[in-house]
C-alpha cells in the first residue's frame, strides 16, 4: 500500500508540475497524468486486497469492492476522450494561428 501511495503521490506531483508549465503541450500531458493519478487514487480507495477479485467463484471467500473498478473504468474512457479532444484543439489552434499570420 505504501508503495502504491508513493507512486500515486509522485504521479500527481508530476501532473501538477506539468499543469503549471508555460508550454501548452506540457499542460495537456499534465492533464492526462492527473487523470491517471486520480483514477489510481479512486481505485486504491476500494482498498487493495490480494486474492480477492470481484468475480464470483465457489472456492473464493473474500471479495474486493466492485464499485471503484467500475467507476474507474468509466473514468478512464472519459479521460482518454478528454485528452484526445484537448490535443485536437491544440493542433487545430496551432495550425489556425500559423495560417492567419
Amino acid at each position: 500500500m505504501s508503495m502504491i501511495a508513493l507512486l500515486l503521490g509522485g504521479l500527481s506531483a508530476a501532473a501538477v508540475y506539468l499543469l503549471l508549465s508555460r508550454e501548452k503541450f506540457s499542460v495537456i500531458l499534465g492533464l492526462a497524468l492527473l487523470s491517471y493519478a486520480v483514477n489510481g487514487f479512486i481505485f486504491a480507495m476500494g482498498r487493495l486486497k490480494i486474492h480477492a477479485i470481484p468475480i464470483f467463484s465457489p472456492t473464493q471467500i473474500d471479495y474486493a469492492d466492485p464499485i471503484p473498478p467500475a467507476l474507474v473504468l468509466t473514468a478512464i474512457v472519459i479521460g482518454v476522450a478528454m485528452t484526445a479532444l484537448v490535443l485536437a484543439l491544440w493542433i487545430r489552434a496551432a495550425v489556425q494561428l500559423e495560417e492567419t499570420e
Partner: protein
C-alpha cells in the same frame, strides 16, 4: 514546484493513512445481487452494463461525440507541412503485423464473449481491436489505404445499445433493464444469455470506431510539424 510537491505528499499521505479494514453497504448490495439480478459472475462488468447501464450509455455518448468532434476538427490536414516519418517498408514487419493483428482480433472476440463472467468486456475488447489497427498502421501505414469506410460502425454500435435499451421499455420495464436466461445446448453445456451482453456489443463497436478515428486522424496530422509551428510563434 512547491505546490506540485505538496499535492503529491498530500495524495500519498491520504493513501498511507487509509484504514485498511473497510466494507460498505453499497458494495454488499452489488455482491449479493449481481449473480441473480444481472446473471454474470464478473461483478464489475455487471455493474457497468446492467446496474449502472444508464451511466455507461451516457459515457458512450460522450466518447462517440468526441470521435465526431475529432472528425470535424482534424478533417483535412494542410498540404504544406514537413513529413516527420516516412512509412516503414519491411517484409518482416508486414508479415508479423498480419499474424499479430489477426491474433489480436481473435483475442478481442474472446474478451468480448467472456466479459460477463470473467475479466473482459466491451471496452477492453474494443481497445484490443484498436491495438490491432495500430499494429497494422505501424507496418503498412494504414491511413493512406483505408479511408472512412468503417465509420458507420459508430452509428451501428450506438443504435445497438439504444435499441437494446428501448426493447426493455417496449416490454414494460425501465430503460436498459436487462434480462437473462440459461440456455441448454447439447454439446456446449449451459450458456448464460444476458441482454446486457448485446449492450456490451454496442459499447464494443463504439469503442472500436472512436479509437480508430483517434488513431487515423492523429496519424494523418502527424505530417504537420507542430513543434516547428509553435516554436516559430513563441519566439
Amino acid at each position: 514546484m512547491g505546490l506540485a510537491l505538496s499535492v503529491g505528499v498530500t495524495v500519498a499521505g491520504i493513501l498511507c493513512l487509509l484504514p485498511s479494514d473497510f466494507s460498505n453497504d453499497v458494495a454488499r448490495y452489488y455482491m449479493a445481487n449481481s449473480l441473480e439480478g444481472g446473471g454474470g459472475h464478473n461483478m464489475v462488468n455487471v455493474i457497468i452494463v446492467d446496474f449502472r447501464g444508464f451511466d455507461t450509455f451516457i459515457e458512450m455518448t460522450v466518447f462517440a461525440l468526441t470521435g465526431l468532434i475529432l472528425l470535424g476538427f482534424l478533417a483535412s490536414p494542410p498540404a504544406s507541412g514537413v513529413a516527420i516519418r516516412k512509412p516503414l517498408r519491411s517484409i518482416l514487419t508486414q508479415t508479423w503485423a498480419g499474424v499479430m493483428s489477426f491474433s489480436l482480433l481473435l483475442g478481442a472476440i474472446f474478451l468480448l464473449l467472456r466479459g460477463h463472467d470473467a475479466p473482459g468486456g466491451g471496452f477492453i475488447a474494443g481497445l484490443v481491436v484498436v491495438l490491432a489497427y495500430a499494429v497494422q498502421y505501424l507496418a503498412v501505414s494504414l491511413p493512406h489505404r483505408v479511408t472512412l469506410a468503417l465509420d458507420g460502425l459508430l452509428a451501428l454500435g450506438f443504435m445497438l445499445a439504444l435499441i437494446t435499451g428501448l426493447c426493455a421499455v417496449v416490454m414494460g420495464a425501465g430503460f436498459l433493464t436487462s434480462t437473462h436466461y440459461r440456455l441448454h445446448l447439447a454439446w456446449l453445456g449451459d450458456i448464460e444469455l444476458a441482454s446486457a451482453a448485446l449492450f456490451d456489443l454496442g459499447v464494443f463497436f463504439v469503442v472500436v470506431a472512436v479509437g480508430r478515428i483517434f488513431l487515423l486522424r492523429f496519424a494523418a496530422w502527424q505530417r504537420v510539424n507542430l513543434t516547428q509551428l509553435t516554436a516559430g510563434r513563441e519566439e
